[in-house]
């Protein structure tokens, strides 16, 4: 896969605050790459360096094989974080306005239809709901039919149905070969959309891999959580008391009945039993915590 986005040892500081501290990554053509990490981890700064709206203090970045500021704007789409376009343009006027800035743009009505905003296309941006506003901004990022699309928290404030509709849209764009750089706090979004995920913490890449690789490496085992205040001594099982309840690690689903019987036999008063597989969020929590403690081997 040819890399369309490359960052090598990128450093960026704002005064005494280090935003990026030697970040390196490469994103291939047609790949969906998610950047996750706590607030202030440097995700937006990295996106800005990759789009050319910020200049790294050290290291190098490439967008479509060129310096980002020299890359063909026609091929790049951006949805910035905390982006607020003019409130007194209708959704259609807003998308038409951005379409008018490009050599070749898609029909605004078609793009609005794709993001599910066609019923509200004549409503002023300021009168749209928060989720509709974000969808209008997504439409503005898509109107030039970009080859590389930067989406900085694209579904913030969007309701679950709207979020799923946008996810489907992003998946169809990725299927058509669009490279997508996604930043998000939503691990379900990253797990569903991303081919690869990088966890950024304190300006450094703590881990990179496919969602499956990160889960396997960092998320721990499948677990059974028992809602009880008691701490029974069950010699055959490895249990741990956490904020969630009594947690049994490495439990196969077929073993849940055996553990319930063992709890009964021990006279434990318990409520719900919930079994779940490890998720990307578990990997994120483990990595973010380790990164804060400086324990992730890089």
């Amino acid at each position: 896969m040819d890399p369309v986005l490359v960052a090598e040892d990128v450093e960026k500081a704002y005064g005494d605050v280090t935003a990026l501290d030697g970040v390196s990554l490469s994103v291939g053509a047609g790949e969906v790459f998610a950047l996750v990490g706590p607030n202030g981890a440097g995700k937006t700064t990295l996106v800005r360096c990759l789009t050319g709206t910020a200049e790294p203090d050290a290291g190098s970045v490439e967008l479509l094989g060129e310096s980002p500021r020299d890359a063909r704007k026609q091929r790049v789409g951006l949805l910035p974080q905390a982006f607020s376009p003019p409130e007194r343009l209708t959704a259609r006027e807003l998308v038409s306005y951005y379409a008018g800035l490009y050599d070749d743009a898609r029909e605004p009505d078609a793009v609005l239809g794709e993001v599910g905003l066609d019923p509200a296309e004549d409503t002023w941006y300021g009168d749209l709901s928060g989720g509709q506003q974000r969808r209008a901004c997504v439409a503005a990022a898509l109107v030039n039919d970009p080859d590389v699309l930067f989406l900085d928290e694209p579904t913030t404030g969007v309701d679950p149905a709207g979020r799923r509709a946008l996810w489907s849209l992003f998946e169809s764009l990725a299927d058509a070969g669009t490279t997508i750089m996604l930043t998000t706090h939503d691990m379900a979004e990253a797990a569903r959309l991303a081919d690869r995920v990088a966890l950024l913490a304190a300006g450094e890449v703590a881990a990179t891999g496919t969602p499956g690789e990160l889960v396997a490496e960092y998320a721990g085992d499948a677990r059974l959580v028992v809602d009880t205040d008691e701490n029974p001594d069950l010699p055959s099982y490895d249990a741990e008391r956490t904020e969630e309840g009594l947690v049994f690690h490495g439990v196969d689903p077929t073993s849940v009945g055996e553990i319930a019987t063992a709890l009964d036999d021990a006279g434990v008063d318990f409520g719900a039993l919930s079994w779940r597989e490890p998720t990307l969020e578990d990997a994120y929590m483990a990595l973010a915590g380790d990164a804060e403690r400086g324990e992730v081997a890089r």
């Binding site: 800005r48 789009t51 050319g52 709206t53 910020a54 200049e55 500021r69 704007k73 026609q74 790049v76 789409g77 951006l78 949805l79 910035p80 974080q81 905390a82 982006f83 607020s84 376009p85 003019p86 409130e87 007194r88 343009l89 006027e93 306005y97 951005y98 379409a99 008018g100 800035l101 490009y102 050599d103 070749d104 002023w124 503005a140 030039n144 930067f150």
Partner: protein, 256 residues
């Protein structure tokens, strides 16, 4: 897609946005008219000699009334637009489109020129209704737009350097008010101490004031060398406008 198409797209969006802010539209036109109503309509300055405020006939103050729109409107509008675009991450988005800083400023200058031309026309009609005597010189079609561009450039500088919209508006008002009275508009040079008068040349508005007065005030128009005064001040205004536009465009916080 040509440069002109991009400027047209930006200008269309900016004009629509402005025209839908009713309060801003109202005060853009109301402010100069209220000045005329007070001073030309109620006070009715007809000139009586001396060197006091409003001691000249109303026509003498045409550059002053026009200055209220060519100065205040672009300074505050472009200044606050730049600050708003930065706060709302609109420049970050625009920096990834083919639009350039200069095209953005050109588009917003065009919008301001159109609004100011309209406001100036309203103002001239209002002055005529008061019975003021002045020449409707074609030079007005040069001075009004070029000076508007000049102050669009300065507005862009203020908006780029100010911390936010409030700061940009405060800075533009803080600069515009002294300029309005230190540019041979409402206050004649003779009212200032002699040592201060050369400093009036530092005001970019003073060349507008001198040029428009030389082109429109009957006494000045009839004076020998009037056309030379107009041309000289027009040339200085044009140079200042080009410099202000270039500096304003270069400072727009397109990228970090």
């Amino acid at each position: 897609m040509s440069r002109l198409d991009r400027i047209r797209a930006e200008a269309t969006g900016a004009m629509r946005t402005f025209l839908r802010r009713r309060t801003a539209v109202f005060f853009t036109f109301f402010f100069p008219v209220v000045l005329i109503v007070i001073f030309a309509g109620l006070v009715r300055t007809q000139g009586g000699g001396g060197a006091g405020l409003f001691s000249e006939p109303t026509g003498y103050y045409l550059p002053a009334y026009l200055a209220t729109v060519v100065l205040f409107t672009p300074l505050s509008r472009v200044g606050s637009e730049v600050a708003r675009h930065r706060e709302d991450n609109r420049f970050e988005k625009l920096a990834t489109t083919p639009l350039t800083r200069a095209e953005w400023l050109a588009a917003h200058a065009l919008v301001n020129v159109a609004l100011i031309a309209l406001a100036s026309a309203v103002l001239v009609v209002a002055l005529l209704l008061t019975g003021a005597s002045f020449v409707l010189s074609p030079w007005l079609a040069f001075f009004v737009p070029v000076t508007s561009v000049l102050f669009c450039g300065i507005g862009a500088v203020l908006g780029s350097l100010a911390e936010g919209q409030d700061g940009a508006i405060a800075a533009s008002n803080g600069i515009a008010l002294p300029l309005l009275f230190l540019s041979e508009t409402f206050v004649q040079p003779a009212l200032f101490p002699e040592w201060f008068r050369p400093l009036l040349d530092l005001s970019p508005l003073v060349y507008f004031s001198r040029g428009v007065r030389a082109a429109t005030y009957p006494e000045a128009v009839e004076a020998a060398g009037s056309s030379g005064v107009v041309a000289t001040n027009a040339a200085v205004t044009l140079v200042l406008a080009v410099v202000a536009f270039a500096v304003g465009a270069a400072l727009i916080p397109w990228t970090e």
